[in-house]
Symmetry: C2
Subunit: 253 residues, 2 copies
DNA sequence: ACCAATTTGTCCGTATGTATG
DNA sequence: TCATACATACGGACAAATTGG
């Protein structure tokens, strides 16, 4: 061993494109750059960082992906407010890769839905309740079309989510929402009976909001999800099979 | 108007780098490429896609960021299993940018923690309970060091999470965990009293696991989080202030 | 321990299409 | 309509790191 001492820490070289991304990210997270602010053109960034165009572009891609940087109509760079579904798309794909089961998905959805209804009951406004009822009426008009029912069902739950007025919960729910609601058209498949039960559950949930009755809300949230599970199993699916793109098609781009 | 008809749909050009990313992503999500499989060198991808290497590299960055593609020790490309904290880091930063309040964070954490304890009570094994008790003993040994207490507290809740055996819930919790647990050292600040209450709550939670007593678990989960809130407010913080990097420092890289 | 081949990281210059004023 | 600025994409180049003999 010809070493003198262990005076210096190991040097871990960081690629330039990564440093570019981190530098911009720091500015954003620190608040010095606020959503909507222009980042500058690629050429400007090239000058500021003293690196090549290609390097800047690679760095920009990183931030664009997570929504921290967006391009406006003219493709100019600006600080963006990452929307949840952007992140949730990645997250739901990760769940697929991890081969989580429908049982895990169902359990989590149950817990998160109960939390949602608790908050929604205490916070729903007249306008929100009216909007939810309009959605139910629209659902009732397309009861023989499972795909349309599933679409309205998804919308209903998104609206319900909003009335809970908790963005942390909203973000937490999104990945599982993206996986479970697309399967509703399977769960209400064929039988108009399934659609009717769905509409009934939605009506009772809105009723709970009106009466500010937490227990009623929780009761029908449970029933609603148990219905989903029964429909899912009735159509020959197994709760312990991993979620995938076949049964959860909307996870595709 | 010299238009003939409206026969053709509008063409929305998709950048080449994006098509590269989507093509690779499709292979991964379809299962033809499994986690760990090599993607091929950049030169190979250049040949397969018939685009420039810079373009390939930009596309790769997109997938690297979400963890779908990783580089191994030799920086060769391979299909990756995105780990939750990777995604959660992005998500928690998004929450900061959206300026969510500690109240929202607290509400969501309460709901998610109750869901976790429900599942954990029914699934905890002897080994897991022993590991949790070891953690509590370790916490008790460092009661006068708020930072160390916060670290053990974070570990405790991660372990508890694992015993719930639900990866969807785990993913849903991660972003809020990253924001709330780092503030524990604030909440138990100074007074050893705070640390003692924390240890007591942990002991009762483990007790609930042993007795498979859901109600006991829920009771102490509530108390535990109410303690956190009291500590947070006692130290001069306001629940309605937005979460930020100052009070939640671990959200930084 | 050394060498040759491969691969990544970075840079330069250029061409093309498009949006804005 | 025209000119300018900009993003997108390409080809070629070289140094540094890694691999496998």
């Amino acid at each position: 061993m010809s070493e003198v001492a262990e005076k210096f820490a190991r040097i871990t070289p960081v690629p330039a494109y990564q440093m570019v991304a981190e530098a911009i990210e720091r500015e954003i997270l620190s608040g010095r750059l606020r959503p909507g602010d222009p980042i500058g053109t690629e050429a400007q960034l090239v000058r500021q960082f003293g690196v090549n165009r290609s390097t800047v572009r690679e760095g920009i891609r990183l931030l664009e992906q997570s929504g921290m940087v967006q391009r406006d109509s003219s493709r100019r760079l600006a600080v963006g407010l990452p929307h949840y579904d952007q992140l949730a798309t990645r997250a739901s794909r990760a769940l697929i890769l991890h081969q989580v089961s429908f049982r895990e998905l169902w359990e989590a959805t149950m817990a998160l839905s109960l939390a949602t209804i608790d908050l929604a009951v205490s916070r729903a406004t007249e306008e929100e309740i009216a909007a939810l009822e309009a959605n139910i009426d629209a659902t009732e008009a397309v009861l023989n079309d499972p795909a349309a029912v599933a679409a309205y069902d998804s919308e209903f739950h998104i609206m319900l989510e909003k009335t809970a007025r908790n963005r942390v919960l909203e973000l937490a729910r999104e990945p599982s929402n993206m996986l479970i609601y697309p399967t509703t058209h399977v769960a209400v498949q064929g039988t108009e009976q399934g659609g009717r039960r769905l509409v009934e559950a939605h009506r009772m949930l809105v009723q709970a909001l009106k009466l500010r009755d937490v227990d009623l809300g929780r009761l029908w949230t449970r029933r609603h999800l148990i219905d989903w599970r029964k429909g899912f199993e009735r159509t020959g699916n197994d709760l312990d099979q991993p979620v995938d793109l076949v049964t959860a098609p909307s996870a595709m781009a």
